[in-house]
């Protein structure tokens, strides 16, 4: 277990393994997303209450869940970086921020668009919408802090501290927003993931899209992390070999 853990913390090992894993992951993701989306968009019966509009939920729910998970993943990486000084963990944490931000934006956008016909307005101060918006702010803050530092090492540590401060606050924020919401307008009964009333043929494709999007999320993280490895480990021999190999392969634009 520990050996595996420390192997994972070696950039070279990560680069090689992720490179080997990538084609499989890409194929699996494409299959899952393709099947799930076509099935969900075209071959499921309409919802008895929301009509065809509920099809937005196939992308909204997993993107919101992944965005939330991404923040926790970033926090775990930040902790690993601060405690064990694992450089690899910081590179992954750095990759998490923009990916998590785009997934949060996707969850917000799809939620708003879904809300126009359902609530009659694109934005209501619903507890989930509000806490997702705050999550977006947290991601933006993390990225802003990192880019404000000129020194890579100092920026990495500062961002890790901020991420950990943020993750302590996330449950408090979520709880406070929920409480605030009930104080002002009563719990919203318009829940997107109300699967109890729906037949299985509606929520089975959701699993396909969900796991497909999870695969996509991993791909996005891996792509950014691999770039980061090439930039930070430029002085090492094995990266030099990769770079010169890609250069000899005609302009190195593979």
């Amino acid at each position: 277990m520990w050996q595996w853990f420390f192997k994972l913390s070696s950039p070279k090992w990560f680069y090689t393994i992720s490179g080997q894993l990538m084609p499989w992951l890409a194929t699996l993701t494409t299959l899952l997303l393709g099947v799930g989306l076509v099935w969900g968009l075209a071959f499921t019966p309409p919802d008895y209450q929301m009509g065809e509009n509920y099809r937005i939920a196939y992308i909204h729910v997993p993107s919101a869940a992944i965005a939330m998970g991404c923040y926790y993943m970033m926090a775990c990486m930040a902790a690993a970086f601060l405690i064990w000084r694992i450089k690899m963990a910081d590179m992954i944490a750095k990759a998490c921020a923009p990916v998590g931000m785009t997934f949060t934006a996707l969850a917000l956008f799809t939620g708003s668009v879904w809300g126009i016909p359902t609530w009659g307005t694109w934005w209501i101060w619903d507890a989930r919408l509000t806490s997702t918006l705050i999550m977006l702010f947290l991601f933006i803050g993390v990225m802003a802090l990192r880019s404000a530092y000129d020194s890579e090492a100092a920026g990495a540590k500062a961002t890790a501290v901020l991420t950990l401060v943020g993750v302590v606050n996330v449950p408090i924020i979520t709880y406070s927003v929920k409480w605030w919401n009930t104080l002002h307008q009563g719990a919203s009964s318009l829940s997107l993931s109300n699967t109890a009333a729906n037949p299985p043929q509606i929520w089975v494709p959701a699993f396909f899209v969900g796991f497909g999007l999870l695969g996509f999320y991993l791909i996005a993280i891996i792509l950014r992390t691999r770039n980061e490895i090439l930039m930070r480990e430029r002085r090492t021999e094995w990266v030099d070999e990769i770079l010169s190999a890609s250069k000899s392969k005609g302009q190195g634009l593979s």
Partner: protein
């Protein structure tokens, strides 16, 4: 414990020698609160409805803007580095520093708040909950702000960055602070909410100094 006293005395002495740092956040609070009636109209009923929110949001912004004077001078003259190298218990020194900063920036706001709340026609029954909430809430704001300030003190362009980092973390305090006033006005028992805010203060007192120390070490090493 003498180190806490010494730090407190030093910080308060410095603060009172440059009264601008104490007065400016207060002036911001006063002016910003008076802008609201000019913006939304002088209707007493409407003002009394938004009063808790206006007082809380402006107090929150005033605390955040006051943070700039917390570590800046110490960072620039190098005494922050000395502090981090000193053999004294850092946790308590930092706590004393943040406490003294709250005494000169947060406490005056709490004392002034009732005056402006009544100018905004906040009903009598909301006054005690407002002050009690501010009394417990502003130290949390100062502690969280100190974390943000410690992270950005080494950067040249830190003003707006601080607000991006810190304002999302201020949301729970704002929610419960205004919630306490509104609950009291709707004659709901507020002791539970005050206790929750108190629990947040205890959590911040325990954890924020650790984050501040870690952040200051990074900033000093730049």
């Amino acid at each position: 414990m003498s180190i806490i006293k010494a730090t407190l005395r030093r910080e308060l002495l410095i603060a009172f020698r440059s009264p601008g740092d104490i007065i400016n956040p207060l002036m911001f609070f006063v002016i910003a609160v008076s802008l609201f009636p000019l913006g939304v109209g002088a209707d007493q009923a409407f003002l009394s409805e938004i009063a808790p929110g206006v007082v809380w949001v402006t107090a929150l912004l005033a605390v955040m803007l006051s943070m700039d004077s917390l570590f800046r001078a110490d960072y620039e003259d190098g005494s922050l580095e000395q502090l981090l190298l000193s053999p004294q218990p850092l946790y308590f020194i930092i706590l004393a520093k943040v406490s003294s900063h709250w005494l000169v920036s947060g406490l005056p706001l709490v004392i002034l708040a009732p005056v402006f709340a009544s100018m905004l026609a906040l009903p009598e029954g909301g006054m005690f909950p407002l002050v009690a909430g501010l009394l417990i809430g502003t130290p949390i704001l100062t502690l969280l702000g100190a974390v943000g300030m410690a992270l950005t003190v080494g950067l040249s362009r830190s003003g707006l960055l601080l607000s991006v980092l810190i304002l999302p973390l201020y949301i729970p305090v704002l929610v419960f602070g205004t919630g306490i006033v509104n609950s009291a006005l709707n004659s709901i028992d507020i002791s539970g909410l005050l206790a929750l805010l108190g629990a947040m203060l205890v959590l911040a007192l325990c954890l924020a100094p650790l984050a501040i120390i870690a952040a200051l070490r990074i900033s000093v090493s730049l």
